[in-house]
């Protein structure tokens, strides 16, 4: 018996029973497509939840001077002068796991514009601060490197500040306000962020170049803090270690000396992120598992029934000279053709359906190659197995029994 003939036999059997072949294939198509779509929606939700948590600043790292003892008296961190601009430059240039870094110096005072005034805090930062705190400039623009070098008296203000100083409306861009007695020109307005989880108004903020605050307002050479973003939330711990070694080297600390700074990360957020991610992963595994089982059982049934109803045909083929191996090969070829074709169509439909969900229902979707592979492999293998197994049973029958099978 040669392979070409067997292939031809299988093809003929399929093409003469297009409806049966199509229905069998449909089981596999639905199985594959539903698994891919479910996983795409699940993955998309997982990603979007992760992104929302990350937006809260789960990868944020804050460095403050601290842990300094003088004659047994723990000092107020803000009075300490251990963090220098040099530290900032080194972290910026040498830090390996950091995507953004900004110095932080701030001063509280009264803001005045015309007849209106309000208390607020001005933050001296670099441009990276926007990235770190997930802020964005809505109107106008951020200050530039040039502004930092020249300690320009420019600022970006939050919504609350605008409301306080410009109660009658009017474009704040280009207006000059005074902080204490120093004039600042407004060059941008931040997009509103609302209140944070602690009830603090995140819009009551003024950002200015850190050089301006250090030289013109505080007249200091040290920093009150440095804020960084780790590249990803997972890298926070590595980033902290990295920063620690840079700072210990800069501060010439001996092996046994304690750090003269403290580094804090958003551990609550990151543990929340981890537990959410774990939960979503379990959820996804359940979705995938159930979809695969449902798809698999559907495929199993339809293949099993379709082969069982062909027992007489198998008997006939054996009576005209087909060996058991010929019967098995034929059904295996048929099952492979149906399953692989169905699998490919299923992948196309599954991906298509995911995009329909994305563009019509506006749900976040994310198709991962492993989910496509997984559903394709599981469904095709199920299809092939349950095409092969009943055929094996039928081929083992006596031809007499098979041909009289009702």
């Amino acid at each position: 018996m040669n392979g070409t003939n067997l292939f031809k036999i299988a093809l003929r059997a399929l093409s003469n029973n297009k409806m049966r072949a199509f229905l069998t294939m449909l089981g596999i198509i639905i199985g594959v497509a539903s698994v891919i779509t479910m996983l795409a929606i699940g993955q998309g939700s997982k990603k979007s939840i992760q992104a929302q948590i990350a937006e809260m600043g789960s990868n944020m790292i804050m460095i403050h001077p601290g842990a300094d003892m003088r004659g047994g008296v723990r000092q107020d961190p803000s009075a300490m002068q251990t963090l220098k601009l040099e530290d900032f430059y080194n972290i910026r240039d040498e830090g390996k796991y950091i995507s953004a870094v900004s110095p932080s110096v701030n001063s509280s005072g009264q803001l005045i514009y015309g007849a209106n005034n309000a208390p607020s805090t001005i933050y001296g930062v670099s441009q990276d601060y926007l990235t770190i705190r997930q802020l964005s400039v809505e109107d106008g623009e951020m200050f530039t490197d040039q502004d930092i070098q020249t300690s320009a008296k420019v600022c970006i203000v939050g919504k609350t500040v605008v409301d306080n100083l410009f109660p009658n409306g009017g474009d704040p861009i280009g207006k000059v306000i005074r902080f204490n007695s120093i004039p600042f020109r407004i060059i941008g307005v931040l997009k509103s962020k609302g209140y944070n989880s602690m009830g603090m108004d995140q819009d009551d903020v003024i950002l200015a170049p850190y050089t301006t605050i250090m030289k013109r307002i505080l007249a200091v050479t040290y920093l009150q803090g440095i804020n960084c973003s780790a590249i990803t939330e997972d890298m926070t711990d590595q980033a902290i270690e990295d920063i620690t070694s840079i700072l210990r080297r800069n501060h010439k600390l001996k092996e046994d000396a304690t750090d003269d700074f403290t580094i804090r990360s958003q551990q609550e957020l990151s543990s929340m992120m981890n537990s959410t991610t774990d939960l979503m992963t379990i959820l996804l595994a359940c979705i995938a598992g159930i979809s695969l089982v449902v798809g698999g059982i559907g495929i199993m049934n339809i293949m099993y029934v379709s082969v069982t109803e062909r027992t007489r045909e198998i008997g006939l083929r054996m009576s005209v000279g087909a060996r058991s191996i010929d019967i098995l090969s034929q059904f295996l070829i048929e099952a492979i053709l149906i399953s692989v074709t169905g699998g490919i169509i299923g992948v196309i439909i599954g991906v298509g359906a995911s995009f329909i969900v994305k563009y019509v229902a506006h749900w976040p979707i994310f198709i991962q190659s492993w989910s496509v592979m997984l559903s394709f492999v599981v469904c095709t293998v199920t299809g092939i197995f349950f095409g092969w197994y009943p055929a094996k049973k039928a081929a083992a029958l006596d031809p007499i029994e098979a041909i009289r099978y009702e």
Binding site: K8, I9, A13, L316
Partner: protein, 248 residues
Amino acid sequence: MSKAIIELKNIKRNFKVGDEIVHALRGVSFTIHEGEFVTIMGTSGSGKSTLLNLLGCLDTPTSGEYFLDGVSVRTMGKNERARLRNHKIGFVFQSYNLLAKTTAVENVELPLMYNARISAAERKEHAINALIAVGLGDRLMHKSNQMSGGQMQRVAIARALVNDPAVILADEATGNLDTRTSFEILVLFQKLHAEGRTIIFVTHNPEIAQYSSRNIVLRDGQIKEDKVNENILSAAEALAALPVPIED
């Protein structure tokens, strides 16, 4: 004397049904020569189906010797018997057993599909010739579900002929057909007989024995009667004598 196609020597076949042993065949011996048209008759339970399965190499005897065209079948394995069926035997079943929704030509080609030595072109040629021989030259591309019972049985006979078998085994081949169509099929079998083919026709209908050259009657697993028919009736004449069906 022409060559012996089938030689049975004291064939016994036992089946185990639960704890009991059923003796379906209790020592059957006969020889069928080339060119004979033998009917094997018997009531149900006489062992004729068992005998047919043994003759068709679908089953092997418990004891005894069976030579088909000079080859001993008893010791053969499953695959060798499949090959033997493919080369030496043509089956015609009561319920036709055509492949569904498949053209006459493809149905007839089926046995040759399992014979790797025959090319696609030869296969098609043989199939067409076999269909012409059974009078279906004008229905080559009709599908099995577009044909009448008589036509389907003709396709089945063509399928039995296509591998040029040593013997054609028919199992109640007219059992599902009306009288007229049954005679048409018998005419065909007589024509094949006249062409020198060896035919074994298993039936419970005693009428059919009149149209064959030899009749073997089985009862309780043994041969009750084995008689050469001196006066073979012509199925064609019987067909002509039938009342003409009323056309509507």
